[in-house]
Amino acid sequence: MKDIIQVKNISFNYSGQPLLFDGLSLDVHEGEWLALIGQNGSGKSTLARLIDGLNVLKKGQIFVDGLLVSDQNVFDIRNKIGMVFQNPEDQFVGATVEDDVAFGLENRQIDREKMHQLVKTSLENVNMWEFRDRIPANLSGGQKQRVAIAGIVALSPKIIILDEATSMLDPQGRQDILDLVRQLKEKNHLTVISITHDIDEAASADRVIVINKGQKIDEDIPGKIFSNTEQLARIGLDAPYTAQLIAALKRRHFDLDKEYLDREGLIAWIKQLVSTK
């Protein structure tokens, strides 16, 4: 599979601070849902900003869809990447829902008729068209994130980066946003990078990369990552509940041949276990 993002041997630090990344490399495959997990300050959000050209690299290179992230290419890169940030309030630029979705289109000098069309279809995509006249103060956090996603979808990017986009939402809102992004990903063949400390969110990814102190510690399918509960604990991350339960069962010599199961899978396995006894 093609690598849509290649991070090659990058070094970066914020001015006056020690190196956050020193020779970090990783790849993002086209069409996958990649979860980047790690503790606060591990550098995962910074990595997203570097990919989007919002911060400038010290050393190394990042390629996005074949383009080198540099001052010359930065606007082409941003046409390919849509970012949803953590705080719903801080990415709402427009005075109303409609105006906010139009903001990115206005920046790209799309003509008005096309813009109105795109705003409508993207708001319909996220089920927010009937809220088009609302001001942000009259929207919930989840609704604001939907608007942010509509603003991104309107620009038809190839990659969506969720920078802890669901961390300020309630569980229901979180699930709604993730379902929405998944649905859009399938429909528009997107690549999704989700930066998160929500382990359950990461558990539903295609692949997980664990970052700690600017280093890539591990990369694998979620099942493998979460079965390694000791490693997760060492870097201060909780394993998903099911993984913890499996680890506990294994310690008590229940033989489970699978590395990791989601909730339904685990329930089925336990039922089977109980019925065979």
């Binding site: 900003r49 989007d52 919002l54 606007f75 941003r78 046409n79 990447i81 970012m83 940030f85 705080n87 309030e89 801080d90 990415q91 709402f92 630029v93 427009g94 005075a95 109303t96 409609e98 105006d99 139009a102 903001f103 990115g104 289109l105 206005e106 920046n107 790209r108 000098q109 799309i110 003509d111 008005r112 813009m115 109105h116 705003v119 001001i135 942000p136 103060a137 603003g151 991104i152 620009l155």
Partner: protein, 264 residues
């Protein structure tokens, strides 16, 4: 406070609502200038008639409108009262120390009262029928000629609309901080003036830090969404000059001419 109308927007679809914001802004400005040309009852009568028609066309009932601006009338009466007491000229009707009421000051006071009232009425109609965003857009359209002298008109308009967009957000945050400080025992409502000013400091500091954080995050988000500068952008909303605007201008210009003809 709930039926106080000055500076508020009421959604609607009236004749005035449908006019373009730039012409509403300019018309209000023009109206204020004409007010200063009126100097007798007939000319004020023309303007009063015009403003009544305007209020009716804005879809707001006259009684509701008058009730809405009533709190401001006390302010006007106070100003006019001072004006009457301190101005001189004409025959003195009443005198007490430095204060005097003359027949001329009474007439002048009456006219000033009408002027104030008319100005407040036209500006209330403007804000009642125009969203803050539309006003920002109107300002942008009006100031467009200044682009030639490299005045950053678009940047100004974008700043204005972002500022307006953040007003409710910051109000919410202020409420939260207020409650947080109250729960720690800060008393905002009583005590001496210095005490109250001091109590405002723990309110303002977090509010400002919050605002600066918002600004920083917002600028990142804007950049990520492809913002480079405010000059090279297309516009989602446009307020075209319409027939309604032309007709309104004709009526206002005729009224202005009448005032000039009827004044002493």
């Amino acid at each position: 406070m709930t039926n106080f109308l000055f500076g508020r927007y009421l959604p609607g679809n009236s004749w005035i609502h449908q006019m373009s914001p730039q012409s509403k802004l300019l018309l209000s400005f023009y109206f204020v200038i004409v007010i200063f040309f009126a100097n007798n009852l007939v000319s004020y009568g023309v303007l009063a008639l015009l403003i009544i028609v305007v209020i009716l066309l804005s879809g707001v009932s006259i009684t509701f409108f008058l009730k809405g601006i009533r709190p401001l009338i006390w302010l006007i009466i106070f100003t006019v009262g001072l004006q009457i007491l301190f101005s001189s000229g004409g025959t003195i009707l009443w005198q007490w120390g430095p204060f005097s009421i003359t027949n001329l000051s009474l007439i002048n006071g009456g006219f000033i009262f009408i002027r104030f009232l008319l100005i407040i009425m036209i500006s209330t109609v403007l804000t009642l029928t125009t969203t803050p965003l539309a006003i920002a857009d109107g300002v942008q359209t009006i100031l467009k000629p200044l682009k030639r002298v490299h005045f950053p008109v678009d940047t100004l308009a974008l700043m204005l609309s972002i500022a307006l967009r953040f007003v409710p957000t910051l109000m919410d945050e202020m409420e939260t901080i207020l409650n947080a400080q109250r729960s720690r025992g800060v008393d905002f409502g009583s005590g001496s003036l210095t005490h109250r000013v001091k109590a405002a400091v723990p309110l303002l500091v977090p509010l400002f830090t919050g605002a600066i954080n918002h600004a920083e995050n917002l600028s990142t988000a804007m950049e990520a969404r492809g913002f480079t500068d405010s000059e090279h952008r297309s516009k989602y909303r446009i307020y075209r000059w319409q027939l309604k605007d032309t007709l309104s201008w004709i009526v206002f210009l005729v009224a202005g001419g009448l005032v000039l003809y009827l004044r002493k």
